[in-house]
């Protein structure tokens, strides 16, 4: 079976309009993750429709706040809290914000530093 599996870089300005557009086209959020890069964070938002996958790739500076997508896709709240808590990504207005208490961990943002 042939299916789409793409990674598409977007800017912060393009990001939310693109997320809204995906919602309007019937995509749902399947995965959200952060990774450390020299510029700050690389955020990957993967959306699924039938068997197709599209990943929006957003690269932001360490202190750059990013809007939560939970107003559009409420089910993203767990994964957004995870990215905020493990990596320290500044995600604003998460619908169910655990404010750093999703995981009982002894170290703050343990995934932020490499190694």
């Amino acid at each position: 079976m042939e299916y789409l599996n793409t990674i598409e870089p977007v800017t912060l300005e393009q990001f939310m309009p693109e997320v809204v557009s995906l919602k309007m086209q019937g995509w749902h959020v399947t995965q959200l993750c952060a990774a450390r890069v020299p510029e700050g964070y690389e955020l990957s938002y993967t959306f699924g429709r039938e068997y197709d996958l599209r990943t929006l790739r957003l690269t932001v500076a360490e202190d750059q706040p990013v809007s939560s997508i939970t107003q559009i896709f409420p089910s993203a709240f767990l994964q957004e809290n995870e990215a905020a808590e493990l990596f320290g990504v500044k995600i604003e207005n998460i619908e169910k914000d655990y404010n750093g208490r999703l995981y009982r961990i002894s170290r703050e943002t343990p995934f932020k530093e490499k190694g």
């Binding site: 079976m1 995965q31 993967t46 996958l53 089910s75 767990l78």
Partner: protein
């Protein structure tokens, strides 16, 4: 408005095998809101990818969870193979498929046992787990391990199955199938089981898709989505049809899992009939450089694997989006409006795996 009270539920509860906590907001005995807390045993296994050689990490990926162990190893290996342009030999693809389907049978039988136990139906619990033991024996026979058996490697698998083992698996599958029929009938037709499951926690197809439900939870709402249809391992050569039900309630989720066990028996037989001769692994040289997203239809639903490599033997990132992470948001919707007495059962019907979620 009726007076509201908050009842803490978990993390230790007789029905929950793993720690999850909910603050249940009740009006009388009706749940109006549920706020989940997880993270009691977060292990940071994804982070270890920066410290372990990418070939060693297969063993870590397998230890994310005891039930989905084989699939996690497979998902990770397929990501790295995709980045490195390595294709596992066809025989390895078939062996992976046989172990994957045996894992599904093992997981679903375990879940049926837990469900029976939650219902207080002890003999049904024991029968379900008695049958599961036979599958664990097949893991033991073919790999030397019963739960975590470490047979995946980048480029294929580490162990082959000889013809005697394949015959033994076929015989065992026939035996379990025969013995499962009365057990399955009890789950699907017994009045006491039906009185607890029928009509409980109805999830519409629209909500299931919109809230990101995966696996039996999604298919029980009538959505025919099964990522085995993407054709990874040997699934492209086999006749996979998504098993669906339409009611979307707890009984539908039970029915889908039972029918998937029978489907797994059929897929195991088909794979054994078609497995080609040949190598079980190809040599892998160099280090991966690039990134890849892969998905596997784990017993509990679709899992998504992401690997980002930098050309060294240590990876930049491994990400595993577990089925339970996707099924918690729709579960919270299901809890709204249910009775306090049904909460434990409803949580169980999504087949939560907190071990996977706390990777």
């Amino acid at each position: 408005m009726a007076k509201q009270s908050i009842v803490p539920f978990g993390p230790q509860h007789p029905v929950l095998p793993e720690p999850v906590h909910l603050d249940l907001v009740l009006e009388d005995e009706t749940v109006v809101k549920a706020v989940p807390s997880i993270g009691f045993v977060h292990r940071g296994l994804e982070k270890l990818v920066e410290l372990k050689d990418f070939k060693q990490y297969v063993y870590i990926a397998e230890r994310v969870c005891g039930i989905c162990s084989f699939g996690h190893g497979l998902g990770y290996c397929q990501c790295v193979e995709d980045i490195m342009g390595v294709e596992a030999p066809r025989r390895a693809a078939y062996l992976r498929t046989i172990w994957m389907e045996m894992s599904r049978v093992h997981s679903h039988l375990l879940w049926l046992g837990l469900l029976a136990d939650a219902l207080g139906f002890e003999s049904l619990f024991m029968q379900s787990w008695r049958l599961r033991e036979k599958i664990l024996d097949m893991f033991d026979l073919t790999t030397g391990g019963r739960i975590i058996f470490s047979v995946n490697c980048i480029g294929g698998v580490l162990k082959d199955m000889d013809s005697g083992m394949l015959v033994q698996i076929s015989r065992t599958v026939d035996e379990i199938e025969r013995e499962l029929r009365p057990v399955a009938d009890t789950f699907l037709r017994d009045v006491t089981v039906g009185s607890r499951l029928n009509g409980l926690g109805v999830l519409s197809a629209e909500d299931a898709k919109g809230m990101g439900a995966v696996g039996p939870m999604l298919r029980a709402s009538g959505v025919p989505y099964d990522s085995r249809l993407t054709g990874y391992a040997a699934y492209g050569d086999l006749s996979v049809e998504p098993i669906t039900a339409t009611a979307g309630d707890s009984m539908a989720r039970c029915e889908v899992r039972i029918r998937e066990i029978y489907q797994s028996f059929r897929l195991i037989r088909e794979a054994i009939a078609k497995i080609p001769q040949g190598d079980i692994a190809v040599p892998v040289k160099g280090n991966p450089n690039g990134e890849s997203f892969m998905r596997i239809e784990q017993p509990r639903g679709e899992a998504i694997y992401y690997v980002k490599a930098n050309g060294t033997k240590f990876l930049d990132r491994f990400r595993l989006r577990t089925p339970t992470t996707s099924n918690i948001p729709p579960m919270l919707d299901l809890l709204r409006g249910c009775q306090l007495a049904d909460v434990a059962l409803l949580i169980l019907t999504i087949d939560p795996c907190i071990s996977c979620t706390e990777r």
